[in-house]
Symmetry: C2
Subunit: 329 residues, 2 copies
């Protein structure tokens, strides 16, 4: 079997997760990692793979089938995506929901010209959660869909915490409000804003000479980030933060609460739920399933940008259509 | 907007559910129901739809875009599927897992000849559960997948019950063993056979003159159906059975318990769960989403048999690809 030859662009948490994920897939191999750092500073876990400067990416069109873009959505992917799609099939986890239509248009134009496939905005939200929203909404046209995130660390809110003067370090966990989850599961269809569905817990390491009371007030009253939420602040030592909050757990739910029947008398509940010890490793594994899809779609002659909505699920599996019908249908 | 013109073949629980489901979808209309019964004996809930004898189906090729096959998988669909696929796009919920490969081959050959699309084996298992098994297995190659059915009525086991001499009426509920569900959710990966995952509760109405004790023993020792399971028998009156067990609730779970990390140290759990007040209405609504897909695929020039694995999720939604990217991704 000819393996899918993969390049990883960016070697942060997601890129490292992708390297490990490739080892779980017998039909994939990691050829190279591309970085803006000094390539010598990176030690891969894959024996035969190389580390190159990102500037050398243009020389690798013959060696790599699909490039996995593992940079950030804020500044990396909007620049790297279009550049790399001009040369390679790409898969990314671009996750700025509002900018997806524009990014799609850009990538579609470039990938059609380069005769490659670019699968954008995969992962779990956007990604698996989107897929479940779409399918559940299609099955149950009468109903409401609820997305809960967490329990897990929110990067944006953690950053906001750390910008408060007097905060030495900190992390913020987003936690679904369990009463809200239970109410939705029961078939009631409450109106719930984001703040009705989630609470926030902040673990904060204080700099010397600052008052806990004052910092706590500053945090819980911060507009846009915390003021609208049930927010708790706990002060802990740097050692405790390092010890107990190093992992990257996450999770969440998509629940569709629908009705059927001549008088809408039957509640029908669909719930999709994930519970992750490692968010970046899980996300990377989703991206890799779409690497397989990008490779196959392009082999079939398809080009342009795609999202999960455009891709038949069979393309994600290592199994043949016959085996899938026999073993998983 | 040109609506999708639908015919329903068979007007049992599933066909009745489909009629109600069509009313929830603005882009669909019910044109006719086809039955083996006397058409005059059927009163539809849809004003403009007609009831015809199934023998008249061949005259309706110009009036109907997609035929929804709502007969049974044992004897109806294996005969009706091939006959109707020779004339129409079809969607069915053929659910005899073992016979799917053969049925697929038959339908594929016929639908390719007739230049129609036949989507087979949709519903929830096979169907949504299959889709979740496929996607979760693709995302988490290292792991185990667990399917739990219930709590809900099993038709096959209820039939077996009612064949016992002395049983006047009866129903059997399949119930997931909650300790098994919790163990799987915890990230342990126990070996669990079907009987380790499910228990069975039988509600039995006894004929006059029969002994509860004797009938109970006969049921719980029935090989293949009950002997291997934790089975409870409760004797109730016909009135109570009619009163409390008329509904058709069901449900179930697909859980993928996977691992990632350099030493497989991270548990990653994906759970898909449904809780249904009406199994046939929910199943019908799934079939209708695939009616939309069959219609669109055939408009695009596609032909032959398809399963859920072959169909991009976007085809299921009433929304355009642009709207989907904007609102659900």
């Amino acid at each position: 079997m000819q393996k899918i030859r993969i390049g990883i662009v960016g070697y942060g948490n997601l890129g490292k997760g992708a390297e490990l994920g490739i080892m779980q897939n017998k039909d994939m191999e990691l050829v190279a990692v591309f970085t803006r750092r000094n390539p010598d500073s990176i030690q891969l876990k894959t024996n035969d793979a190389k580390v190159y400067s990102i500037n050398e990416i243009t020389f690798m069109t013959k060696e790599i089938d699909v490039m996995l873009l593992c940079g950030g959505s804020l500044t990396d992917i909007p620049v790297q995506g279009p550049e790399i799609a001009a040369l390679f099939n790409t898969v990314d986890g671009f996750d700025t929901h509002k900018k997806i239509p524009d990014y799609y248009a850009t990538m579609d134009e470039i990938a059609k010209k380069s005769k490659k496939v670019s699968i954008i905005a995969t992962g779990w939200d956007p990604g698996m959660f989107s897929l479940n929203r779409l399918i559940a909404n299609s099955i149950l046209p009468e109903g409401d869909t609820y997305t809960f995130w967490g329990e897990g660390i929110s990067q944006g809110h953690s950053d906001a915490l750390r910008r408060v003067e007097g905060v030495q370090d900190g992390l913020q966990y987003t936690i679904p409000i369990s009463e809200a989850v239970d109410e939705v599961r029961s078939g009631k269809r409450p109106k719930l804003s984001v703040k009705d569905r989630h609470k926030r817990i902040c673990y904060v390491v204080l700099k010397d000479g600052y008052s806990e009371k004052k910092i706590e007030q500053e945090i819980i009253n911060m507009p846009n980030y915390f003021a609208e939420y049930d927010t708790k602040v706990e002060f802990i030592s740097q050692e405790e933060l390092n010890e107990n909050h190093k992992g990257l757990p996450h999770g969440g739910y998509v629940i569709r609460s629908g009705v059927t029947g001549i008088n809408n008398e039957h509640n029908q509940i669909i719930e999709y739920k994930i519970k992750l010890d490692s968010n970046p490793e899980f996300t990377a594994n989703i991206l890799l399933a779409y690497v397989r899809a990008a490779y196959r779609l392009n082999k079939e002659g398809q080009t342009g940008a795609k999202t999960l909505f455009d891709i038949a699920p069979g393309y994600l599996s290592i199994l043949s259509p016959e085996d899938l019908r026999r073993s998983l249908l």
